[in-house]
């Protein structure tokens, strides 16, 4: 393990895991509060087309993924804001289009292969290059910045959109902010856990955290702790055998944490109730 830590590729992987573990639950708390827990999945599907476009045009896939997933997030938000019943179907169309487009473009792209496709679908943290890491770090700063600057307003928005409106908040702008931030988070997490598992790190740590907390801030803070523990823990546990894929390991570690918290949380609450 100690030797591993000296290897640059592993150090980079560790930093990437750390950043994802911090960012995904922070954004995830707002998204879960807003009842959009599956937003990350949707953006993840769309982002695959972005990745494939990168291969097709010879641009860095991370860059094209940012562009396409932000565009997808904006589209999803527009549909949601307008939407009633038609919104659901429109979103579904967008998701399927994203995956199908990605698979197709990847197949015809020079240098595109099933292995590459898989590495984006399920993550491939070991291949995070130094320049990827810079982009990931930049995005992470942007995401945390948004949470710090807009957090108070986003709390009101995600809690009750009408109250946000009646408080004079720029509801449309803030809705875009949260959608775009989610898109950036998806791109950050894409290399670590993969596009199909991105949402797991946005949702599971939040669900875990709320077993213990009473407040919103506390939930977010603890979710970030759980996110980091899961991401780093999953990465480390994947080093035990070359056969263990890190992305899946990270998600399974966080799921295990959730199951543990479910039992523990119940126990803690019962103790509290009997003490009160």
């Amino acid at each position: 393990m100690i030797e591993l830590l000296k290897l640059p590729f592993f150090q980079q992987a560790l930093v990437a895991a750390l950043l994802v573990g911090l960012c995904a639950p922070a954004v995830g708390t707002f998204i879960v509060q807003r009842r959009l827990a599956l937003l990350g999945d949707g953006i993840g599907h769309v982002a695959l087309t972005g990745v494939a476009l990168g291969f097709l045009t010879g641009t860095a896939p991370v860059v094209t993924a940012i562009i396409v997933s932000v565009a997808g997030a904006v589209a999803i938000e527009l549909v949601r804001a307008r939407g009633r019943t038609t919104g659901d179907v429109a979103l579904a169309l967008l998701f399927y289009g994203g995956i199908a487009g990605g698979v197709l473009l990847m197949a015809i792209a020079p240098g595109g292969s099933n292995a590459k496709l898989n590495s984006y679908l399920f993550g491939s943290i070991a291949t995070v290059a130094a320049e990827d890491l810079w982009i990931i770090a930049g995005l992470a700063v942007a995401v945390i910045g948004v949470v710090v600057v807009f957090g108070r307003e986003l709390f009101v928005l995600c809690q009750d959109e009408e109250v946000a409106k009646a408080s004079g908040l720029p509801v449309r702008f803030l809705s875009m902010v949260i959608a775009i931030t989610a898109a950036l988070t998806v791109v950050i997490a894409m290399r670590v856990v993969g596009l199909l598992l991105v949402s797991a790190l946005m949702v599971i740590p939040v669900a875990t955290s709320q077993q213990f907390t009473s407040g919103f801030r506390a939930t977010m803070g603890l979710a970030m702790v759980f996110g980091v523990v899961a991401a780093v823990g999953g990465l480390l546990s994947s080093t035990l055998s070359a056969k263990v894929p890190p992305g899946a390991a990270i998600v399974l570690v966080s799921l295990a944490g959730f199951v543990l918290a479910l039992g523990l949380g119940r126990f803690v609450r019962r103790r509290k109730e009997s003490a009160a």
């Binding site: 879960v32 009101v156 995600c158 809690q159 009646a166 009473s214 407040g215 919103f216």
Partner: protein, 261 residues
């Protein structure tokens, strides 16, 4: 009468939702200091009416003004405190009573500024006013329906607005909470606040109401003016010395909503 002196002024207001004409031409002017109950049967359009007054539901025809400005161009949202019908339990993410009440300060807060001492004081007082100081750190999800209603009212109180717009504050509320609500409203009325509330039955609120607007089938069926001369509010520099305020000028707007023991 100048429209800028009115709190709400709707003329020919129509709302169409899913091709259903919910409001079919409403003329309604509400002046500062009025305590208006919007009454009507379920589906009469009374909730839509107050939401349209705030611009939450767009008009399909006619216009509405908030302090003389259309809602889309209105900027002084701190003057209005909206109390929705129910507390939204967002996706299951917990929030404490204090967090929800503190969010009522949002219209008075600037981005990138820390919570000020005035914010904290207003929140503390709002919690005291609705008798929930002891539960400030609890999850709102764990509170009873009546207590959640009090949290919503406290959130509006925390913003220290001039006007309160409440959507069925008494619906599904236990007797204790109803009395507490009536006491809270009484002190708001004493402070000269404008109150517009939707109600099914008035119960203990009845003596506070100065005007009843009955909505039926998207039209105003009855608009009962109170005996007091309310037209006064149009006069520039008008002081809110309504009969029910007595002589007392409240020192701080917050002072007056303390529940008297």
């Amino acid at each position: 009468m100048l429209l800028t002196d009115t709190t709400f002024a709707m003329t020919g207001g129509q709302v169409t939702l899913d091709r259903r004409h919910v409001l079919r031409g409403i003329d309604l002017t509400i002046c500062p200091g009025e305590v208006v109950a919007v009454l009507g049967a379920n589906g009469s359009g009374k909730s839509t009416l107050i939401r349209a007054l705030l611009g939450l539901t767009p008009l399909s025809a006619g216009q509405t003004l908030l302090y003389g400005t259309p809602p889309a161009r209105f900027r002084e949202w701190w003057r209005v405190g909206y109390v929705p019908q129910r507390l939204q339990i967002g996706g299951g993410v917990p929030a404490t009573v204090r967090e929800i009440v503190a969010s009522g300060r949002i219209a008075r807060q600037k981005r990138l500024r820390f919570t000020s001492a005035a914010d904290k004081l207003a929140v503390t007082r709002a919690l005291e006013a609705v008798g929930l100081s002891g539960r400030a750190g609890d999850r709102v999800q764990d509170l009873s329906g009546g207590q959640q209603q009090r949290v919503l009212i406290a959130r509006a109180l925390a913003g220290e607005p001039d006007t309160f717009v409440m959507d069925e504050p008494t619906a599904g509320v236990d007797a204790e909470s109803q009395q507490l609500l009536a006491d809270t409203l009484k002190s708001l009325v004493a402070a000269g606040k404008t109150i517009v509330l939707v109600a099914h039955e008035l119960g203990p609120l009845e003596p506070l109401i100065t005007r009843g607007v009955v909505v039926r089938d998207g039209l105003i069926a009855h608009d009962g003016r109170p005996p007091q001369p309310e037209g006064e509010c149009a006069r520039p520099g008008h002081e809110h010395l309504h009969p029910h305020t007595g002589e007392r000028e409240p020192g701080s707007p917050l002072e007056s909503w303390q529940v008297k023991p």
